[in-house]
Symmetry: C2
Subunit: 338 residues, 2 copies
DNA sequence: TTTTCCAACCAAATCGTTTTCAAATTTGAG
DNA sequence: CTCAAATTTGAAAACGATTTGGTTGGAAAA
């Protein structure tokens, strides 16, 4: 059913019907009500493509998905979905070819030019992220999930990675630990730098010298956690505590500790960052895992919300949210053994 | 840059340019080459919305995302993305409001009517799935990831859940186990039924009576694995083997076994199904986990491929793929102890 | 030379809306 | 009761492509 026939059936012009449905003020309440009612009854829905062509709005927000298949991706998306449910906006997932630099820029440029999205969410930004510069230059509204130091105004939502790791590390120091290892994410991303900074600061403020041997970085896989923890614990002068980067690396760390006949929460303390997954909970691990916690799903929901605001004209300059991170102490952290 | 100006710059009509770019035969090779070249140089790209309006094609395939935030979702999507990279087709993620029946039908109906997608991928189908009936009735191309018994022709790709579980269970029986527990997915989905069937058949063919107490079902969380395994192992006459449904439940099962001072691969054998995650590998678990394996990412890639075929006219009747599942034996399965 | 045919191109209609500008109707003040 | 102002409604022009149904010019056939 097209606007044309629908309007005819109502004995109105397409103009009026269109206006009635889009909530323009210059149509009488009586008419609007009738139109709305009949639209439901006769099942008229405007053709999206026509609307998009005419208005130039795409009705979708883009999320570029890396190849890595990060496990928190689904949670973030689910969160976004929750917010967009009531909106007339969908999520467009754009596959990213290669993390190859040139290709990536090309991808964003084409995405913008294709006019398939009204806004873009940028993940895992780098301190000087060209994607941000590009999107700004092209005038495409975008929200950064994370932060960047780049000298270009941009809306962002981030969690306090630095504070989280600082507190986690400090807490371990409070417990008497001085050899504290740290598993970080892939170098390059701002969040990894922030975590590194938090770690260093905590050590420094307590006069503990940093041992570069105790730092690892890479994708947050259980394998990384296992290998790194294992190799450290086998060395002379092993760490007594480990700040694992994620739930998955924490699993690996637990395994490594156990494999050497040691116990988490006794010989080795562990703290990880928990994005709050429905299928893997820190509280359920054995021993239960002390964690810095921030809901990835909630971030997705809020990001969707902020993006909608951006699209409807709110200035990116006003949108900066730094979320505090909870530190939840459980059994995996304990005073250092002597 | 619009077609109009672009054509003018080339000294051609919009018609010819459009044809040249879409590969129609009635334009000379010389012209085609020139147009293609200039399009790149001048940066002309057809406006997607106009193309979509005119052709009626949406240029996107829809994936309805449940609220549960299943952890394999990202893998499947990454797989799809890999295939669609070179295509001019995006992935539209549609949030699902409630698993409430009526709403769900409504959602699909509106999705079809909105013409935002050229095809839909249906996940976790039920034996008599009304979504399938609906999509068929509405004439929307769709691919079922999984299977359904419904009496409506539909394209599907599924893994051999029944065979996988049958083999896993049989193998455990071969090792002398007779009390074998089974953790299944949420009841209702076809795959859960298939797994159940595989389990029952394996037992039956070896004359082992089924004990309903040994079966659990629910979302594949580590918690389910832990609670169920733990409660069973504490009982009198505990199982000596467990067919865990997923990697996450397997983690819970491992934990439960350990928490009772037992060892996986000695007092209790465990087999799980592994969707192949980059961040959590069966081989790395301790002890390494015997698993039925099938790549979720590969399924995503193939599903995308098949959907593209559907869209370009291939009959759904021809598209039925049942993927065999590998059984990989590792340390978590061992002969029953007596 | 004339006719026929074919390759190569083009003008204009079309997809289904939104929106500008103008017309019709109602309202309210005088 | 009149007339201007305010409220409702409509006709028609966009939006930017694709595609139908021609033209055109030159080579091949007659």
């Amino acid at each position: 059913m097209k606007l044309r026939e629908f309007a005819k059936q109502l004995g109105l012009s397409p103009t009026t019907v269109s206006r009635a449905l889009s909530g323009y003020p210059e149509v009488s309440e009586v008419t609007r009500a009738r139109v709305a009612e009949e639209a439901v009854r006769l099942g008229y829905r405007p053709n999206v493509n026509a609307v998009r062509l005419k208005t130039g709005r795409a009705g979708a927000i883009g999320v570029v998905m890396g190849r890595a298949g990060e496990f928190h991706f689904a949670e973030f998306m689910a969160g976004m979905a929750e917010r967009l449910l009531t909106e007339d906006t969908d999520i467009l997932v754009i596959p990213m070819a290669d993390p190859d630099h040139n290709d990536e820029m090309q991808l964003y440029r084409r995405l913008v030019e294709s006019q398939r999205v009204d806004a873009i969410i940028v993940h895992s930004p780098r301190p000087n992220d060209e994607r941000i510069a590009l999107l700004h230059k092209l005038g495409m509204p975008f929200l950064v999930h994370g932060r960047s130091d780049i000298d270009v105004p941009h809306a962002w939502l981030d969690i306090d990675n630095e504070g989280a790791v600082r507190r986690a590390t400090s807490h371990l120091i409070d417990l008497g630990h001085t050899r504290i290892a740290m598993i970080n994410g892939r170098p390059g991303a701002t969040y990894a730098l922030h975590r590194d900074k938090g770690y260093r600061e905590a050590l420094q403020s307590r006069g503990i010298e940093l041992d570069p041997q105790l730092i690892a970085s890479g994708n947050f896989t259980d394998e990384l956690g296992f290998r790194f923890a294992r190799s450290l614990l086998e060395q002379a002068n092993p760490p007594t505590a480990i700040v694992a980067g994620s739930m998955m690396t924490a699993l690996g760390v637990y395994r490594a500790v156990r494999s050497l006949g040691l116990q988490v929460g006794r010989e080795v303390s562990v703290i990880a960052h928990d994005d709050v997954f429905p299928y893997l909970t820190a509280d359920n691990m054995a021993p239960s895992l002390s964690a810095t916690r921030s809901s990835m799903r909630a971030a997705g929901t809020r990001c969707a919300d902020l993006v909608l605001q951006l699209v409807s004209g709110r200035s990116p300059l006003e949108i900066h949210e730094l979320w505090p991170v909870e530190l939840i102490l459980r059994e995996s952290t304990a005073p250092v053994q002597r």
